[in-house]
């Protein structure tokens, strides 16, 4: 089975240098795109390949690129931004790609920037990723040195300047318009859409924001074609996916597997099943902001559409496992406290609703809960739902809560009835 994204990543070994990666064919897509293809041809190829955004939303990447105005007279400057602000609790896949193969990302960014004719690109990097920052800075210097960044790349007349911006924290920076405000040196508050970044993004200019894993694909797809990319997957969505598992399993970690691998296979074969003495109760399939999947869902395929059909979201594809020795109320309280803390405070339902949710969950966990609290929590998930808030932060927070209330109802009731946490 092919593992294009991780084949050159050797745990414990330093990432490939520019020269090593180029010799391995890693920059072939850059050469092909810049020398043999028009920008629109590159975008159309990515569209054909059905590369869906790997940051969690699953938006078609080629479509996003095609929204950027291409008329020469209104084109400069345009920006490409790589969202490397991985901060979704339980998510650690981009770190692996950044530390393990920074040239793969740079090659992908050159291809993407060429497709939208951006002359400036940024990597918006999470502050905690020190090792990734070091690897990226070294790789960038090598790419400039080799003439793959800077002016007139490979004699094509295309120029690209690539910089790293290291964040100063805050989960909301992962929201693409908040990220743009942060990159402009402002508070990371989401912006109204429309206008979408493709029309008016960074400093008011056309901008594309893509996730690390998404961009890491671009050069590969140009080298090998859309049919090859689709053939890697078991489902309609093309490609492989980096899946991960954390929690009480025998072998927590990350694996590059075909898109559409089942939850059961990831959990049992790759993560080695539950740790001795722990039983599976549920999983958040793609980070803290996704709905629970439970026993009955183990055979569903991990892909955007199939997980959505089961009432959740694939999100980032890195699962968090709830075991039988962890209290589901405490689990949810931890997550909702995170979302309450990380709310940027811009809109009322999120700013006021999330602390209220946290307060109620705390009361229930401490044995001060009442049955009507469950109705309040349920109604909160409605107020925090899409359409009531400015961005996806609060709706994301509502997802584990609404499904947790459903699947772990008896545990909530027991806390309230016994006036204490059964796990303590």
């Amino acid at each position: 089975m092919e593992r294009p994204l991780t084949e050159h990543i050797k745990p414990g070994a330093p990432p490939l240098t520019f020269e090593e990666y180029r010799k391995a064919g890693g920059y072939e897509g850059v050469r092909k795109a810049l020398k043999e293809m028009s920008p629109t041809e590159v975008t159309n190829l990515i569209k054909d390949a059905k590369l869906l955004g790997r940051g969690g939303a699953g938006f078609p990447t080629g479509v996003k690129w095609s929204l950027v105005p291409m008329e020469p007279d209104r084109s400069k400057p345009k920006y490409l931004v790589c969202n490397a602000d991985e901060m979704e609790p339980g998510t650690f896949k981009d770190r692996y790609l950044l530390e393990g193969n920074p040239h793969q990302l740079i090659a992908g960014m050159i291809v993407a920037a060429y497709a939208i004719q951006a002359d400036k690109a940024y990597i918006f990097l999470r502050w905690a990723y020190k090792k990734a920052e070091k690897a990226l800075r070294k790789a960038l210097a090598e790419a400039y040195e080799a003439g793959y960044l800077g002016e007139n790349i490979l004699g094509s007349g295309f120029n690209l300047d690539l910089n790293i911006h290291v964040s100063a924290g805050r989960y909301i920076c992962g929201e693409e318009t908040a990220l743009l405000n942060s990159l402009e040196g402002k508070r990371a508050i989401p912006r109204t859409k429309p206008p979408f970044p493709a029309a008016s993004g960074l400093f008011g200019r056309p901008t594309v924001v893509n996730n690390v894993e998404t961009l890491s694909w671009a050069s590969h797809i140009v080298s090998h074609g859309a049919a090859w990319f689709k053939s890697l997957s078991l489902t309609e969505t093309g490609g492989t996916k980096i899946f991960g598992v954390s929690g009480r399993v025998k072998n927590p970690g990350l694996w590059e597997l075909p898109m559409g691998t089942t939850v059961r296979e990831i959990l049992e074969e790759h993560a080695g099943g539950m740790t001795e003495g722990y039983r599976f109760r549920g999983a958040l399939p793609g980070g803290a902001s996704t709905d629970f999947l439970v026993e009955q869902h183990l055979d569903i395929q991990m892909d955007f559409a199939t997980v959505a059909a089961a009432g959740s979201r694939m999100g980032t594809g890195t699962m968090i496992i709830l075991d039988d020795k962890t209290c589901p109320v405490a689990f949810l309280k931890n997550i909702e406290r995170f979302f309450a803390l990380e709310s940027c405070g811009w809109c009322t339902p999120c700013r006021e609703g999330l602390p209220w949710v946290e307060k109620i969950l705390t009361a229930i966990e401490e044995g001060r809960g009442r049955m009507e609290h469950l109705d309040t929590l349920k109604s909160q998930t409605k107020y925090l739902a899409p359409g009531h808030t400015f961005c996806a932060h609060a709706p994301g927070a509502a997802e584990p809560l609404q499904s947790g209330l459903k699947y772990f109802h008896d545990d909530f009731v027991q806390h309230i009835h016994d006036k204490k946490c059964p796990w303590k």
């Binding site: 609790p89 905690a128 020190k130 954390s246 929690g247 803390l341």
Partner: protein
């Protein structure tokens, strides 16, 4: 007053952006790198350089948790209290560190050696529980190994 070195580093960051304002977060980080935290005076100095109001700079400084607007200890311990670390038992690690150092989250030891802060998710979820001390990540924490790790930071 900002030192010449700080100013030089800030101007270097300004070059990355179409307007000086864009470098606001970078400028705050430069000052913090040299002084450990960002004082009111530094906020004013940065505002002067970047042609912003003091309030504007402060609104940015207070938004981001990795900008410290209060002095911190020589070593900052960031203990992950995120969901994967909770499942893997960060709470007992916290209690242990807290007892050993005599401080809770948000506090600094009297000798100014350590500040203990919570952080949510360091991207080390497959090796939870985890923490950072200054720029270093530590994973698979146990109450046995954690105090020894702290000892290395003077």
């Amino acid at each position: 007053m900002l030192t010449d070195k700080e100013k030089k580093e800030i101007f270097e960051e300004v070059k990355q952006y179409p307007s000086p304002k864009g470098a606001c977060i970078d400028a705050l980080k430069v000052v913090q790198e040299h002084r450990g935290w960002v004082s009111d005076e530094s906020v004013k100095d940065i505002a002067g350089i970047l042609e912003m109001s003091n309030e504007e700079v402060d609104s940015v400084a207070t938004f981001y948790p990795r900008i410290y607007r209060k002095p911190v200890g020589r070593n900052v311990i960031l203990l992950c209290d995120g969901i994967s670390c909770m499942i893997m038992g960060y709470e007992s690690i916290y209690e242990h560190i807290s007892k050993q150092l005599g401080i809770s989250f948000g506090e600094t030891t009297e000798d100014g050696r350590y500040t203990l802060l919570p952080i949510s998710c360091l991207g080390d979820c497959d090796h939870a529980p985890s923490m950072m001390i200054n720029n270093d990540h530590y994973n698979n924490l146990t109450i046995e190994n954690v105090v020894e790790l702290l000892d290395d930071y003077k």
